[in-house]
């Protein structure tokens, strides 16, 4: 016990730094408010509508995700990435695809459907991974004893994985709560959320007090939800086995790949025409933009991987993990302005530094919530045993946690790199010029060169996936 206390005290500066990092975006935004917090007139309605949209999206993603679990079990390597892809592409891609396929379908139901379908693959991969980690041994045994697949789904997935289901719900709920473009384009009056409220407060009224108030309300809502969905003493079972042959399904995988195929079809059609718009200016700008994006993506992946790794090494308790899962950074615009407080002026290197820091802060909470926090929960029993046997926390962190979550850190680092390639919400606030490929795509769109912009977005996806895969391969365990 004494060792634990000493260990924690010795790492106080690190914990303080982390706390500072989490609070800084809100504290820095405070500087812009003139009269403290200010609640907008329709805050209650905004809260209510945000809840409906986010809960609807999360429920649909969960239902679809459960259907796709056999496909996710079947998927390997690139196919797993393909299932996750719809949840990670810039919002414009699913919007265009939806408008192509269902031009007349708008409103709250359309927003819920698009966001639910986008996240279903990601939920499926997450559930499949948890199933393989926690229940594979038991399932193997059950099948040997004659259990039917339906019995296994009902008992193992639905009943035994309530913790993972709650985590997935929370993850998609938080994503829907902070989404902007999809509700704006496809929704109507009934499809509004906090992010849209923040945008309106800033763009229409320049009211930073309202924007910060809504950000804090959003944070409070997530904290409340985390408390409601907190783990309730579920047994943690440690096991590893492949369920691919036992429960995997090609049909389910094919179903899961439909959204990504539709999106790629839409994008490829436009990108093909974009080749004709490749002019001398674009050819000159492309290498710079690709270079800048790759630097930002590399920096973001390292910062996210290292940051979450360091956090995991603190061996946070169940309650601490829950609190961290509830954390979300303020909206991209607010975070962008908070990031501008770093350094002075603009320049290539300063822009890249700010974009890297901003992207890291923006993506880390979601990745913690999705992958690292649930993974750490699996080590609770082992940590308890190790402590009882006299192991110091430093030793547990070094010999158990770090190697144990290394593959997960590689995953989140890869995903952070991919997201960084597609970001332009934060980058457009932070950068003094259009440094990245995503910003270049935006410039092209504003300059009538829409097909060339589609080509850039396609390049973002392609090179982003490549860099994410390389980052993941480099960092993961080789056993």
């Amino acid at each position: 016990m004494l060792a634990k206390v000493n260990f924690r005290w010795s790492l106080l500066p690190l914990v303080a730094t982390l706390l500072f990092v989490l609070i800084a975006p809100y504290a820095l935004t405070w500087r812009f408010t003139s009269g403290g917090l200010h609640w907008p007139e329709g805050a209650a309605e905004l809260l209510w509508r945000s809840l409906i949209m986010s809960a609807g999206t999360a429920t649909l993603a969960l239902l679809m995700g459960i259907l796709l679990v056999p496909g996710a079990l079947r998927a390997q390597g690139a196919w797993t990435w393909a299932l996750i892809l719809p949840a990670t592409v810039p919002a414009l891609v699913p919007i265009l695809t939806w408008l192509d396929l269902f031009p007349g379908w708008r409103g709250l139901s359309a927003v819920i459907f698009v966001q639910g379908l986008m996240n279903a693959g990601l939920v499926a991969v997450s559930l499949a991974r948890a199933l393989e980690t926690r229940w594979a041994g038991a399932i193997e045994l059950a099948i040997t004893e004659g259990a039917t697949p339906m019995m296994i789904w009902r008992r193992a997935l639905i009943a035994g994985m309530s913790g993972e289901l709650r985590q997935s719900f929370l993850f998609v709920f938080a994503l829907a709560l902070t989404s902007f473009s999809i509700p704006l384009v496809l929704g109507g009056r009934k499809a509004v959320n906090f992010e849209m409220g923040i945008f309106q407060a800033l763009q229409l009224e320049m009211n930073w007090s309202t924007a910060l108030s809504l950000s804090l309300l959003q944070l409070a809502l997530l904290i409340g939800l985390v408390w409601l969905l907190r783990p309730r003493g579920e047994e943690q079972i440690q096991t590893r086995a492949r369920l691919r042959e036992l429960l995997g399904s090609r049909w389910s995988l094919a179903l899961g790949l439909v959204p990504v195929a539709a999106m790629l079809g839409t994008l490829l059609g436009r990108a093909g025409q974009g080749v004709a718009q490749l002019d001398a200016t674009l050819m000159r700008e492309l290498p710079r933009a690709i270079f800048a994006s790759s630097v930002v993506a590399l920096g973001t992946s390292l910062l996210v991987g290292l940051g979450l790794g360091l956090l995991a090494r603190q061996l946070p308790s169940e309650r601490e993990r829950a609190w961290l899962s509830a954390y979300t950074t303020p909206s991209a615009v607010l975070l962008g302005f908070a990031t501008l407080a770093i350094g002075q002026g603009h320049g290539f290197e300063m822009d890249l530094l700010r974009m890297t820091l901003g992207c890291s802060l923006m993506f880390a909470p979601a990745l913690w919530r999705w992958r690292i926090a649930p993974r750490l929960a699996e080590f609770d029993r082992q940590i308890e045993v190790a402590r009882c046997l006299g192991a110091k926390d430093a030793l547990i962190a070094t010999r158990l946690i770090t190697p144990g979550i290394r593959n997960d850190l590689a995953w989140v680092a890869g995903l952070a790199a991919f997201w960084a390639w597609g970001d332009f919400a934060l980058s457009s606030v932070v950068a003094g010029r259009s440094q990245s490929l995503a910003l270049l795509a935006r410039d092209l769109m504003q300059a009538y060169r829409l097909e060339a912009a589609a080509l850039c977005i396609f390049l973002c996806l392609l090179v982003g996936i490549l860099q994410a895969a390389v980052t993941q391969k480099l960092l993961q365990r080789r056993d």
Binding site: R31, F32, T33, S34, G35, I95, L96, L99, D100, P103, G137, L184, V185, G188, R189, K190, Q200, L202, Q203, L204, E205, M206, W208, I237, Q238, T239, R270, T281, R284, F291, A292, V295, L298, G299, V333, F337, H346, G347, F348, E349, Q382, T398, R399, L400, T402, P403, V429, G432, R433, S434, L439, L444, M445, Q446, Y448, E451, A453, L474, L475, R477
Partner: protein, 406 residues
């Protein structure tokens, strides 16, 4: 009980550390190797002049981008005035004004009428009072035509807003807002959301000024069946239009000129509305009493209805202004002079795809593509009075737009 995962060996942990270290070293090496390219790639120009004052310009992204007029204007200015220019981008007026707090600038470029209203009247984010703007020297303001002239906000380009179509895709071309409700345009219109798009906002006010508030919203409800999509930005809507998803898109009168000059495609046309919409006697948008008084002489494409109201298109005007706390104020004025010069206006016209404010530039030999649109648009300047009260009503009208769930 399944046995726990065995503790990993320290050598494996060291390998992880080495991989992370290798990635960091790789990142640093790339940055160092690319250092020579930074000045060329970053906002600072490679041929920047180290002597003299530095001019700091904050402008909207399409002005700063490589396809916009900003980089060429800066290059021209630096070579002539021996001054280093720092050009920084910001997205829209709200972001631009907030960024002004972080990045004190000598010149702000790209405020439209709504942005200008925010710049004049909205309190600064960190202070209780509005931004202060410098009165600009008369030798600069006098370059601007009287209709656009203002001592603090210099108009540098403009364009009417309306609907663009491709020749051969429509049976009949709409000639008024009322025409847009016709069944033949079912699911044929691409609009933009007024909450996030400047042309979208102009359209909303256009409808309100033409029909009055109550009938305006009724018009929008009736229009719903003919709308293919209300996108969040102009570029999204225009993208759907160029793909052929819908035959009519809300855009600028100058859009067809881009296709004609850059893509050698003459099919694109702007639908000039020359039939006035009947304004109902009970209809009123707050503050538009002036609107009804302002029906002066018509010119260009404008005509009158029975009540004497002229058909009109909204006009987007883009302004530049010098903050009162500027450091290189005179240099900023010189840059404005360049923007309003023949050369500057021509660059803006060709790269921003907007009309120049100076008539002689638009009608100069070799600018025939712009000249026709300019002459047609000139007649609309008489409706500028109708636009004056719009920015102040933005927040109220947008709330109603949202409540109407259109």
């Amino acid at each position: 009980m399944i046995p726990p995962t065995p503790l990993s060996s320290p050598s494996r942990f060291r390998k992880t550390g080495m991989a992370v270290l290798a990635l960091i070293v790789l990142a640093v090496l790339i940055l160092v190797a690319a250092r020579d390219m930074w000045p060329k790639w970053g906002g600072e120009q490679s041929g920047a002049i180290s002597l003299g004052p530095r001019l700091r310009i904050l402008a909207y992204s399409s002005f700063v981008s490589s396809w916009g007029p900003g980089p060429q204007l800066v290059e021209l200015f630096e070579s002539r005035e021996k001054v280093r220019v720092e050009l920084v981008q910001a997205d829209d007026a709200g972001v631009m004004l907030a960024k002004l707090e972080h990045f004190p600038s000598d010149l702000v470029i790209g405020l439209d009428q709504f942005g200008r209203h925010m710049a004049e009247f909205k309190p600064r984010p960190s202070q209780g009072q509005a931004f202060a703007w410098r009165e600009i020297a008369t030798e600069v303001t006098e370059l601007v035509p009287k209709e656009f002239r203002d001592p603090r906000f210099i108009a540098f380009d403009w364009a009417p807003i309306g609907f663009v179509y491709r020749e051969g895709e429509l049976k009949t071309v709409p000639r008024s807002l009322s025409d847009l409700r016709r069944p033949e345009f079912e699911r044929g219109l691409l609009l933009q959301d007024p909450r996030s798009s400047s042309p979208g906002l102009q359209f909303l006010f256009w409808v309100m000024a033409s029909f009055g508030e109550r009938d305006g919203f009724q018009f929008l409800r009736e229009l719903k069946a003919n709308v293919f999509s209300v996108t969040s930005s102009w570029s999204q809507a225009y993208g759907l239009f160029t793909r052929g998803e819908a035959p009519l898109v809300l855009s600028y009168a100058t859009s067809p000129i881009y296709h004609a000059l850059e893509e050698k495609d003459d099919r694109y046309r702007f639908a000039w509305f020359d039939e006035a919409d009947e304004e109902k006697p009970h209809a009123e948008v707050a503050g538009t009493t002036e609107t009804k008084r302002s029906s002066g002489a018509s010119g260009g494409g404008a005509s009158h209805n029975k009540a004497g109201h002229e058909a009109f298109h909204p006009i987007q005007i883009e302004y530049a202004a010098i903050p009162a706390n500027c450091r290189a104020c005179e240099v900023a004025e010189k840059f404005l002079q360049l923007m309003l010069s023949d050369e500057g206006q021509s660059l803006i016209m060709r790269h921003n795809w907007m009309l120049p404010v100076r008539r002689e530039v638009a009608l100069a030999p070799g600018q025939e593509a712009f000249a026709e649109t300019f002459q047609r648009a000139e007649g609309l300047k008489t409706s500028l009075k109708r636009l004056e009260s719009w920015p102040a009503q933005r927040e109220a009208l947008l709330k109603k737009w949202q409540e109407a769930d259109l």
